[in-house]
Amino acid sequence: MTTPPSAVRSATEWLSARARWQPLEGLFWFSAFAAVFLFPERHLILTEIAWLGLFALSLDLILGYAGIISLGHAAFFGVGAYTAALLAKHEIINEPVLALLASGLVAMALGFVTSFLVLRGSDLTRLMVTLGVALLLRELANSFGWLTGGADGLQGVTIKPVFGIFRFDMFGHTGYVYSLSVLFILFLIARRLVNSPFGLSLLAVKGNPLRASAIGVSVDARMVAIYTVAAGYAGIAGALLAQTTAFASLEVFSFDRSADLLLVLIIGGAGYLYGGLIGAIIFKFMQDYLSVLTPQYWPFWIGLVLVVIVLVGRDRITTWTAPIRLFAARLDWRTFARREAAASKDQCQ
C-alpha cells in the first residue's frame, strides 16, 4: 500500500500544529518587553511577576505535562535562592548570569536526587513527600545558621553588574529586563521541549503510564528527567529573587510559597505553558491591588477567586482556559490561510 503524499503533508501539518506560534503569543511577549519602556514605575512588581511566572512554569512542566503534583516546589526555589545569594556574598561567582546557571545546576542536582521519591505512589503520596522535602530543607537552612544566616536571613549580599556592565538599581529597571530576558529564554526552551517527541512522551506518561510502558517508554526515566529539568527552572526562579533583592531568607522554602504556586498555576491553567505566566500576572496584581484596598483581608479575595475557578472549571480544572486557547488558535490567520490554500488546491485536482 502506498501512502499518498497529500496525506503525509496534512499529517505533518497536524503534528506540528501544537508547536506553531500564535499571534496572541507574539502580543504577549511584545507587551512584556514593551513594559520595559511603558511602565518604568512598575518594574519592581513586574520583576516579581517574572520570577513567579518562571517558578510557575517550572511547576507546569511537571504537573501540566507529566502529571506529577507537588506541594513542595519551594524546595528547589529556595536552594536556588540561597545558592545565588551565597555565591555573591562570598564572591565565588561574581557574574550574575553565571551564578544563575550555577544555582540552576545545584537545584537540578537536588531535583534529580529527590525525583526518585515521587516515582511511586498516588497524588496524595506525592503531595506529602514533596511537602516533606521542602520542610526538611527549611529546617536544614535554619540549623546551618553559620552558612545561611538562620532566621535572620542572609544579610550583606551585593550583586555585581550583569555581564560586568548593567548595575542593579533600586527601581528594578535592570532587574526587570534581566528577569524577563531569563524568563523568555527559558520559556523558549520549555516550549521547544514540550513540543518535541520527548514532550509528547510526557503527555503519554501523564495520560496512561501503563500504555506508555507498553509502547516502550521508560516511564520512570522520563519522570526523573522532567522533574530534574523543572527543579532547575525553579532554582533559577529562586536565584532571580535572590539576585534582584540581594537577599535570601528561610521564607524562600516556606509552605505558603509552594501552596501559592499551585494557586498561581491553577488560576492560569496548567498544561499550555502560559498558565503559570498568566496566573503570576493575575495573582501579583490582585495581591497588589487588594492589599492596598484591604491590607489584612486580601487572601480572602484570592480564596474566593480560587473557589469560583474550581467551580466553573469543575473536574477540568487544569483546562478552564481552553476556550480562550481555542479562540486564539482560530485567530491564527496563518492556519486560516493555509487551510484556504489546501482547499483550493483540492478543488483544482
Binding site: 503525509v8 499529517a11 503534528l15 509528547l200 512522551s201 509502547i215
Partner: protein, 251 residues
C-alpha cells in the same frame, strides 16, 4: 519448528492463590497461537508475566532462547514483545496520529529527542500514516482519541502495538465489547496481521479462535490443561467438559 517464546515452569502466587502454575508454553515463530480458558483461568496473569507488568514467583521466560524474566516492560517492548489490552489503554488526549507518531519515535529510540519539533521527520510520519491507513483509521486521524467510536479505539489498540514492530504480539481479547456490526473490522485487521509476526491470541469467542488459530492452548486454574491443533482441541472431551455449557465449534 523454531520456538520464539518459551516459558519454563512459570509460576505466580498471590496470597493463597496460584494464578500461574508451572506453565511450560512454547510458541513457534510465525504461529497463530490461541490461549483459551474459562474466566479466572489466569490468562491475563500470564500476559502480565510475559510483558513484565508482574514478576513471576518462580520460573523463566525465554525470547529466542534469551532469558528476559528480569527485564522491565519497556525493555521487553524494545525486544519485540508487545501487547494490546482487553480494556482500552489509550492516550485519550492525543490523536491517533500523535499516538502512532509517539510509538514509532519511541521504537526508533528518538523518545529522548527534546529539541526537535514533533512532525519534522517525514519518514516517521509516513510510517505512522501508513499504519493508520492499514487499520482504516485515516478518517479519524486528527480526532481526540477519547471521543472515537469504540470500534475505532479497538483498532487503534492494535495499530499502536503494530507501530512497535512486534516479534511476538499478545492480543488480549481484541474484539471484546465491540458491537456486532463493527466486529468484522477487527477480525479483518487481526487476520491481516503481517505473517512474520508471531501472534498469541487470548480470546473467549470460539468463532474467532477457531477461524484464526493454528494452535490452541487451554489454561485452567492457572495451569496448562491441553494443547494441540484446533481439530485436536475441538475433539478433546476434557476440554469439552471444562467448557460445559459453552459451545465449541466443530472444526
Amino acid at each position: 519448528m523454531t520456538v520464539v517464546l518459551e516459558t519454563i515452569d512459570l509460576t505466580k502466587r498471590f496470597a493463597g492463590i496460584v494464578a500461574a502454575n508451572n506453565i511450560a508454553l512454547r510458541i513457534a515463530r510465525g504461529a497463530r497461537h490461541a490461549l483459551i480458558g474459562p474466566n479466572g483461568a489466569g490468562k491475563t496473569t500470564l500476559i502480565n508475566l510475559l510483558t513484565g507488568v508482574q514478576r513471576p514467583t518462580s520460573g523463566r521466560i525465554l525470547l529466542d532462547g534469551e532469558d528476559i524474566s528480569g527485564l522491565p516492560t519497556h525493555e521487553r517492548v524494545g525486544r519485540g514483545i508487545v501487547r494490546t489490552f482487553q480494556i482500552n489503554q489509550l492516550f485519550g488526549d492525543l490523536t491517533p496520529l500523535e499516538t502512532l507518531g509517539l510509538a514509532v519515535s519511541e521504537r526508533r529510540g528518538q523518545g529522548l529527542d527534546w529539541w526537535r519539533i514533533v512532525g519534522t521527520r517525514p519518514d516517521l510520519i509516513t510510517e505512522a500514516v501508513e499504519i493508520l491507513e492499514r487499520f482504516r483509521l485515516t478518517d479519524v486521524i486528527n480526532e481526540r482519541t477519547a471521543v472515537l467510536p469504540y470500534g475505532k479505539q479497538r483498532l487503534l489498540e492494535i495499530a499502536v502495538a503494530i507501530a512497535c514492530r512486534p516479534r511476538v504480539l499478545l492480543l488480549d481479547e481484541p474484539a471484546a465489547g465491540v458491537p456486532e456490526d463493527e466486529r468484522h473490522e477487527i477480525l479483518r485487521a487481526v487476520a491481516a496481521l503481517p505473517a512474520d509476526v508471531t501472534v498469541l491470541l487470548i480470546e473467549h469467542d470460539m468463532d474467532i479462535v477457531f477461524s484464526f488459530a493454528d494452535r490452541i492452548s487451554v489454561l485452567v486454574s492457572g495451569a496448562l490443561f491441553a494443547e494441540g491443533t484446533p481439530e485436536e482441541i475441538a475433539r478433546d472431551p476434557r476440554v469439552k467438559a471444562v467448557y460445559l455449557g459453552e459451545e465449541i465449534v466443530d472444526a
